[in-house]
């Protein structure tokens, strides 16, 4: 799971976060340090697709984002697919 858009969605599934908070959170749960350009590339694509949106904030330079209902649906779908792959892989490893 190294797709930055999926990592951002997974991070926002926990709650609203701004860029730096997402970066730290993703490093904690996935062990991947996203570069600033990669992170904002993912944020741009996710916002364009309507899967995340900005949340009103006093500090415009540290804009928090929130996952939308469509984003949650997409994330759930992707994680279910990943789960299927993980389960299949693990069961095949046991058989081997």
């Amino acid at each position: 799971m190294s797709d930055p858009t999926l990592l951002v969605l997974a991070s926002l599934a926990e709650g609203d976060k701004h860029g730096y908070a997402m970066m730290e959170d993703i490093e904690r749960f996935a062990g991947i340090r996203l570069g600033p350009g990669t992170l904002y590339g993912a944020i741009t694509r996710l916002e364009e697709r309507g899967w995340i949106g900005p949340v009103k904030s006093r500090d415009e330079r540290r804009q928090p984002y929130r996952i939308t209902a469509a984003g949650q649906e997409h994330l759930a779908e992707q994680l279910a697919n990943l789960n299927k792959v993980v389960k299949t892989g693990l069961s095949r490893l046991k058989q081997a």
Binding site: H18, G19, Y20, M23, G35, P36, G37, T38, L39, Y40, G41, I43, T44, R45, R49, E60, R61, R62, Q63, H74, E77, Q78
Partner: protein, 233 residues
């Protein structure tokens, strides 16, 4: 570094900077990240988001020619000086014995010092490495059946290449004299003045290669960007 990062943010398209520029600057301040390549590629990706397929391919093709051209014309010239020997010795073991006796490590060290070879390499690596990684690769002794051998030395200066090639020949002849069954060696052609190994045509050909490589890269890049831009479902 801060100035460079600000400059990289300016590479993003204006619409993107207006929307996310401030946030990205804040993120750079908070994280202390200096990931220059990440910012550069992300900026290029944003620039290309609005470009057509053809434009991406065309820009990559031009970039391919420019990069290949720069590499081709900046690549340092090497000169090759060759001497030819008649050597009536067909036993490879004896030939190898003569070459080992003629060109031991201390002989190569003295050649390097006498002709002041590889000054740049000697500044950054020990003499052992200069001999093994540079000089031995640029010194060739090639047997040409039935009874000829060519001694070739490559160097960045044609006169030096010729002098060293001639010196190598002298050492081989001397070592052969003191080797039992060394066979008769005669100098057929003395070391010539170093000839260019990279011609203008080769440089142009390499530059031309940049075009198809750039086009291929552009097509792949345009397809990747198109795929990334399309909704996942």
């Amino acid at each position: 570094m801060k100035r460079l990062l600000r400059l990289l943010i300016r590479l993003y398209p204006a619409w993107w900077r207006n929307r996310y520029g401030g946030e990205l600057e804040a993120l750079l301040e908070d994280s202390g990240s200096h990931d220059v390549w990440d910012l550069f590629w992300a900026a290029m990706e944003m620039q290309m988001k609005t470009w057509s397929f053809g434009r991406i391919v065309m820009v990559c093709a031009i970039a391919g020619v420019v990069v290949a051209g720069a590499a081709a014309f900046l690549w340092p010239q090497q000169y090759k000086s060759t001497a030819t020997l008649r050597w009536d010795q067909h036993d490879p073991d004896v030939v190898n014995h003569v070459l080992e006796a003629a060109l031991p490590r201390n002989a190569l060290v003295s050649i390097i010092n006498d002709y002041d070879l590889y000054p740049r390499e000697r500044r950054r690596m020990p003499m052992e490495d200069v001999i093994d990684k540079v000089m031995r690769r640029e010194t060739w002794v090639t047997p040409i059946p039935p009874n000829l051998a060519q001694v070739t030395f490559f160097y960045e200066d044609p006169i030096q290449a010729q002098r060293v090639s001639q010196d190598l020949v002298g050492r081989i002849i001397t070592a052969n004299l003191s080797t039992p069954n060394g066979g008769l060696i005669q100098l057929v052609a003395p070391a010539d003045q170093g000839k260019r190994t990279i011609t203008g045509k080769a440089r142009l050909a390499f530059t031309g290669l940049g075009l198809p490589v750039g086009v291929m890269f552009g097509v792949v890049l345009a397809l990747i960007l198109r795929r990334r831009a399309a909704p996942a479902n």
